[in-house]
């Protein structure tokens, strides 16, 4: 690196450590920096001015606000796009790249767009490329390529997200400028525990100086104040949460009291080419000099609308910069200020009407209109000064309204709701002493829980005169979207006079800065152009996040519980192919589903059904509650018997089904479908809560109990060998239940037959799951998975709720007319079911079969009749009996007759199917009852 390239750096800066040099690369070039540097300060120290290319015109852009607000220093860091260089600390070996340019940042081919601006006025895309209609699809890819800023690495599958945390605070103070620091100290002195939150890595705010440093020392030594730096607050969420994006965690902070001291910041003054690299906020420039020891330029012009510009000129001069001139929009400046600048030999021009900046890659000179003549000033740095915008986002989200403030000449927040206090630059206080005083009194008032405070503030009575640069062609209001003053006036001419649609049409405030740089200018210019007062114009909604937060931080660590049964490892050992069903990981099959089906039909099989929802329901009124929830009657069930039950929503549609076993007079054991248990548990408790006089206790024992179903002609022999309980049909008929000891494990066993063979469902403590599986499963016994179970049940025509029903299915449509009780008794869904009954059932679930070795229809396939889609397949599989497809389908009622022919769409072909009202296997159910 040649020495001539380097702007001299001061030997010290408050935040950098000269003894710790580090380096990083920018577009492949090595850059030296010091610990404490930001990417922005380090690049400025190397006199690298162009950091990015703008969104629309690809104009060169560089450091501007130096406070993390503007989009002009967005770069890619280690593969992550759109990082603000001015606030990102340098780390050794960082790989930094410029964005939105090709081939290089200095020479970007698309900057040709900048010359074509007359063809590309506001909303130009709405007015072109649509005739012929094909044109837009040809032009669009070019638009897309030109748009966007950073790139993402689509190969990346890392998901390292920030931890999320919830915390509580008595008094949270957002912002650590003079007012925030003062409020913190005062509140702490008066007994409050204070959290002081600052988005920058250091305390002191935008103007960090001697006064701030004194207060910082006090804050740091006060044990009642906990300080969080590098922590942007990105939103206020009711009722009392502010959200913090700390470097390590995302924190939801519940606050009893919040003091907002978010301050205000300088926003650009609009003039021709006001975006050239080298044009910076005066505060930002001073920050570079003071905190990082970086000299961003040698000959500086200051453009101001207030007295602040003069004091800043003096300060810049004190750092050794040559102040070329101060250009003031106002006719008059007060004599005290004039005296000071005269003493310092700084030229100034009052009453400057209009300004233009000149330069290609960075500022070369400033042209200005003074007393009707145009003058030139050579410079390599221009500072805009004194046009302030309060950081009112958080205040407005917290419920403040706005009023027009004469001091700042813009809108400030007002009327804070209870628990929220405002202080400092946010509410227009710009004087240092007043900021300290006001901050202190707010701090005390909050600590003492006192209401409003009234401090009379000095009002700036000088007349506001602004630069006249209306409708300038390259005078940017919005840097994110490249919207100029001329664009805005064009939009107003087209009838967009309301601030909301003006925003949408011009896209001002909609870019990465979210209005931080442009809101004040947008409101001012719109007010002039539409002829309305700023207070009448209203404000667009300032939405969260206030500070950009990554999706990774917001998402937090993923937490999706995976549900595994206690037999999971056994399934894996047996080589099962696993599948996710309703949140559970279950064996799909161990070998071949059809072999497993055949084993169950001809010998014996075991299946892990631990995933069934299980409720243990006890109490004197248990049967009363069950009677109310199920559409069929439960109270007449005898102890030791099991009944199939269906429950409906209030609207009479099927919610869930399962078995209800009465174990003793006041105790029921209920199973639900695998997917629904949480919802069904709440459903029971919801209705129980409706009648608090009922004596019912409900326990969800889904995970406490494992369950194995053993089924098949030889099931009885296997099971009988393991228990002394007599399981012969005489003693233990179909649809009955017993508490029994199986191989030493006390269990609930139910004789039921979902798969259509004689079998028992054994529920027992899940700690014994592997043990009991070991007892039941052997060389002679096959394990079968969910796919075999689906085939088996389909051959029997058994319904699976949610597979064969939908959100409108009534029990009358799935052949359960016989279990639905009369309207004389009350139960959930009764009215709707009976209305449905009276209106007539219009569609039904029926079985179908296809004769011949056709492909099997997919679940969900459409069914046609007379050329029109009329229904759909809900489940279909190849039958194990003759290999032909069978299944269930929802069809219009008039087609639900035996042997009705319909057509099913399978792989783009139509196949003839016939309706079958009987199950394909054992239609009389003899095998279940043997």
């Amino acid at each position: 690196m040649s020495k001539a390239m380097r702007t001299v750096r001061f030997p010290s800066g408050e935040l950098i450590d000269r003894l710790k040099p580090i380096e990083f690369t920018f577009d492949g070039k090595k850059i030296e920096a010091y610990e404490g540097d930001t990417l922005g300060s380090a690049l400025a120290a190397q006199n690298i001015k162009v950091l990015s290319r703008s969104f629309k015109y690809h104009r060169p852009r560089g450091l501007m606000c130096v406070s993390g607000q503007c989009p002009n220093c967005l770069v890619e860091v280690n593969g992550s796009p759109n990082i603000r260089a001015c606030t990102t600390k340098v780390k050794n070996k960082m790989n930094v790249k410029s964005q939105n340019r090709w081939p290089t940042i200095r020479f970007d081919l698309l900057s040709i767009l900048d010359k074509l601006d007359l063809l590309l006025p506001v909303g130009f895309y709405y007015k072109s490329f649509y005739r012929p209609s094909l044109l837009w699809s040809l032009v669009r890819p070019l638009f897309r390529k030109a748009g966007g800023l950073g790139r993402i690495n689509t190969e990346s599958t890392k998901t390292s997200e920030k931890a999320h945390k919830t915390m509580f605070s008595d008094v949270a103070i957002v912002g650590s400028g003079l007012s925030g620091l003062s409020a913190a100290i005062a509140a702490a002195e008066h007994g409050s525990k204070v959290s002081l939150i600052e988005k920058h890595d250091y305390l002191g705010g935008n103007n960090k100086d001697v006064e701030e440093n004194e207060l910082i020392t006090k804050v740091l030594s006060n044990k009642s104040i906990s300080v969080m730096t590098g922590t942007p607050v990105f939103g206020f969420y009711p009722p009392d949460i502010i959200t913090l994006d700390t470097p390590e965690e995302m924190i939801k902070l519940h606050c009893k009291k919040i003091i907002l001291a978010t301050g205000c910041h300088e926003v650009p003054i609009i003039f021709e080419n006001n975006d050239l690299p080298g044009i910076m906020s005066a505060t930002g420039t001073i920050k570079l000099l003071r905190l990082y020891g970086v000299i961003p330029g040698n000959n500086v012009v200051i453009i101001t609308e207030t007295n602040t510009g003069y004091t800043q000129a003096l300060e810049l001069q004190s750092y050794g910069l040559n102040v070329v001139a101060v250009l003031d929009s106002r006719d008059k400046t007060d004599s005290k200020t004039i005296k000071l600048v005269n003493q310092a030999d700084i030229p100034f021009f009052a009453g400057v009407k209009s300004i233009k900046a000149v330069g290609s890659q960075s500022i070369k000179n400033i042209k200005f209109d003074y007393c009707g003549e145009w003058y030139y000033l050579d410079c390599d740095l221009t500072c805009y000064s004194g046009r302030l915008q309060p950081a009112l986002q958080l205040a407005l989200q917290a419920g403040c309204s706005t009023e027009f403030d004469a001091n700042l000449n813009t809108l400030i927040p007002t009327s804070p709701p209870n628990g929220i206090s405002l202080t400092g630059g946010l509410i227009g206080i710009t004087d240092k002493d007043q900021s300290i005083k006001h901050g202190r009194s707010v701090g005390i008032a909050v600590a003492k829980d006192k209401g409003d405070i009234h401090l009379s503030l000095q009002q700036d009575t000088t007349k506001k005169i602004e630069f006249e640069n209306l409708s300038s062609r390259k005078g940017f209001i919005c840097y994110c979207e490249d919207v100029t003053s001329k664009d805005l006036s064009q939009a107003v001419k087209e009838g967009f006079t309301d601030i909301q649609i003006l925003k949408r049409y011009s896209t001002i405030t909609m870019g990465p800065c979210q209005g931080k740089m442009c809101l004040t200018n947008f409101l001012r210019e719109s007010s002039v152009m539409t002829g309305s007062r700023q207070a009448e114009l209203g404000l667009t909604t300032l939405r969260p996040p206030i500070e950009p937060i990554t999706l990774g931080s917001l998402a937090g660590p993923g937490f999706i519980p995976v549900k595994r049964t206690p037999l999971h490892n056994i399934h894996l050992e047996l080589g099962a192919k696993m599948v996710e069903v309703g949140g559970w990981i279950r064996p799909y099959s161990y070998t071949d589903p059809y072999k497993e089906v055949s084993a169950v039909r001809n010998n014996v099989g075991v299946i892990d059904v631990s995933t069934l929802g299980k409720l243990d329901i006890r109490g004197r009124d248990a049967s009363k509650l069950l009677d109310f929830i199920y559409v069929n009657k439960i109270s007449n069930l005898k102890a030791g018997r099991v009944r199939y039950g269906v429950m409906c929503l209030e609207n009479g549609t099927v919610l869930d089904d399962g078995t209800v076993a009465k174990l003793s007079d006041n105790r029921f054991f209920v199973t639900t479908t695998t997917t629904n248990i949480e919802a069904i548990e709440s459903w029971f408790k919801w209705w129980l809560a409706a009648d608090t006089n009922l004596d019912v206790k409900i326990a969800n024992v889904t995970s406490e109990l494992a369950a194995i179903n053993i089924a098949g002609p030889n099931a009885r022999k296997i099971l009988q060998d393991l228990t002394t309980t007599n399981i012969e049909t005489d003693e233990f008929p179909y649809m009955s239940a017993k508490q029994a000891v199986i191989s030493g494990v006390s269990s609930i066993i139910m004789r039921i037959g979902f798969v259509g063979e004689i079998g028992w469902e054994i529920h027992f403590p899940s700690v014994y799951a592997e043990y009991l599986w070991g007892k039941l499963y052997s060389n002679n016994v096959n394990a079968f998975g969910v796919e075999a179970q689906r085939i088996l049940r389909l051959e029997k025509g058994h319904v699976i709720v949610n597979q064969d029903t939908d959100s409108l299915t009534s029990p009358l449509e799935i052949g359960l007319n016989h279990i639905v009780r009369s309207p004389k008794v009350d139960y959930v869904g009764k009215n709707q079911i009976h209305q449905h009954h009276n209106r007539g059932v219009k569609r039904k679930l029926v079985g179908f079969k296809i004769d011949g070795k056709t492909p099997t229809p997919k679940d969900g396939a459409a069914i046609l009749h007379q050329g029109v889609p009329v229904g759909r397949v809900t489940s279909a599989r190849r039958s194990s009996i003759n290999q032909n497809p069978i299944g269930l389908a929802i069809l219009p009622e008039d087609l639900c007759v035996q042997n009705q022919e319909v057509l099913i769409l399978i792989n783009e072909e139509l196949y003839l199917a016939t309706v079958s009202l009987e199950p394909a296997y054992d239609p009389k159910g003899i095998r279940l009852k043997e």
Partner: protein, 407 residues
């Protein structure tokens, strides 16, 4: 704010003097109200007033994520949305404004067997009803969306998808402005910031509306509101089966193109696409509880973002630009309510547009205009009558909002 605007091609709004009487008063100056105004004016009915309590297109039309598609679930909804999409295809030319309609297609991702089952029905029904729609496997998905995480051994694996090529996205504000300009140019009065506080009804027949300023007589009044459809209907003592829920949406900072189709997942309750400007728009299901509050929520955005990252982990370093929400008038069967009502003559509904309203606006406007012109309900909207909730003809249009789940 009186300012005369030059009358030239790109004058979008004017400030008309509100008369005391109109043939038709449309309540709601969003895409539905303005589309109706446009088609009414085109068929010769120009004595029309459109009222909105806020700015034009400021409700659902401003908040929509503007995905247009017709791959619905029921044989009733599919043809309606198919025809609406066709109107959108020619709308830029019709309105003489580039609405930036990008037919980038739509993928409905299935992460489980049960999800694929529902998608299969839609694929079949749509194809049979002349909507391009078919199932694709992981290989084709990776060709369409190279940035999607297609690893198999993870939760919510991408197993298959329903692909619907003619779907797309549109510049929603431009649609509103285009309809508004066209209606305005044909003589329709469009008046923002005027709230209807009551309906004037005499002997079961509508006579006009009462605004905060004055009474306006009308032969017909159309309720084309969203969010407040049930409130307006209540003024006519009609109780609509609508519950209003906020839907949360977010958008990221602009990125270079990496995603050129719309992607939706019903399992994850999330959908996403990248705008021409490069931002990634992320939308989700409606909030679980009814509310008129349009504040952005923290929990919903958290879920929205986590679920987006499950499909696109590469977005984890991308910054969120803003989040917002809009109100959705959800009906029990996820289908709209259109047509006259039995109890009040001259009162017409086009509401209950839940989260499926923007895509329907052209055809809904055209059909309601035809209804007003002929007095007969057009075939396409006949299934959407209010009476269906009383006579057992609910539609089960759950695919209207695959990312939403209320009931």
């Amino acid at each position: 704010m009186k300012r005369s605007t030059p009358r030239y091609q790109y004058s979008f709004f004017s400030e008309p003097e509100v008369k005391d009487s109109y043939d038709v008063v449309i309540i709601g100056g969003g895409v539905h109200g303005l589309s109706l105004a446009h088609y009414l004016a085109k068929s010769g009915i120009t004595d029309v007033l459109v009222l909105d309590k806020g700015y034009i297109g400021g409700g659902g039309s401003a908040r929509t994520t503007a995905i247009l598609r017709s791959n619905y679930y029921t044989a009733e909804a599919i043809p309606f949305f198919r025809e609406s999409l066709k109107l959108y295809e020619n709308l830029s030319a019709d309105l003489d404004l580039n609405l930036l309609f990008d037919q980038i297609g739509r993928l409905d991702i299935g992460h489980s067997e049960s999800a694929i089952y529902g998608l299969q029905t839609r694929a079949d029904f749509n194809r049979l009803l002349n909507v391009e729609s078919y199932m694709v496997g992981p290989k084709q998905i990776s060709e369409l969306v190279p940035s999607m995480d297609l690893r198999e051994n993870k939760l919510y694996p991408v197993m298959a998808a329903l692909y619907h090529p003619p779907a797309g996205v549109i510049r929603h504000d431009a649609v509103v402005w285009g309809y508004a300009r066209s209606a305005k140019n044909m003589g329709v009065h469009i008046v923002p910031f005027t709230k209807v506080i009551d309906l004037i009804i005499n002997q079961n027949s509508i006579k006009g509306v009462k605004t905060s300023d004055k009474e306006i007589a009308a032969k017909l009044v159309v309720n084309a509101t969203a969010g407040w459809a049930s409130t307006i209907a209540e003024m006519a003592k009609i109780r609509l089966p609508i519950s209003t829920h906020p839907l949360q949406v977010a958008v990221t900072e602009p990125l270079k193109p990496f995603l050129d189709t719309t992607v939706s997942s019903a399992n994850l309750h999330v959908y996403a696409y990248q705008t021409d400007r490069g931002e990634v728009v992320i939308g989700g299901g409606v909030d679980a509880y009814p509310s008129y509050n349009m504040r952005s929520g923290l929990d919903s955005i958290h879920h929205l973002v986590s679920n987006t990252l499950k499909m696109f982990p590469a977005l984890r370093d991308v910054r969120l630009l803003r989040q917002w929400s809009g109100l959705c008038d959800m009906t029990p069967d996820y289908a709209p309510i259109i047509g006259p009502v039995n109890d009040v003559d001259g009162f017409i509904l086009t509401c209950g547009w839940g989260s499926w309203g923007f895509k329907a606006a052209p055809m809904a406007g055209k059909c309601v205009a035809e209804l007003i012109l002929t007095g007969k309900t057009p075939e396409l909207i006949r299934p959407f009558k209010l009476s269906r909730f009383n006579n057992g003809k609910m539609l089960n249009e759950r695919a209207s909002a695959p990312a939403a789940a209320v009931h």
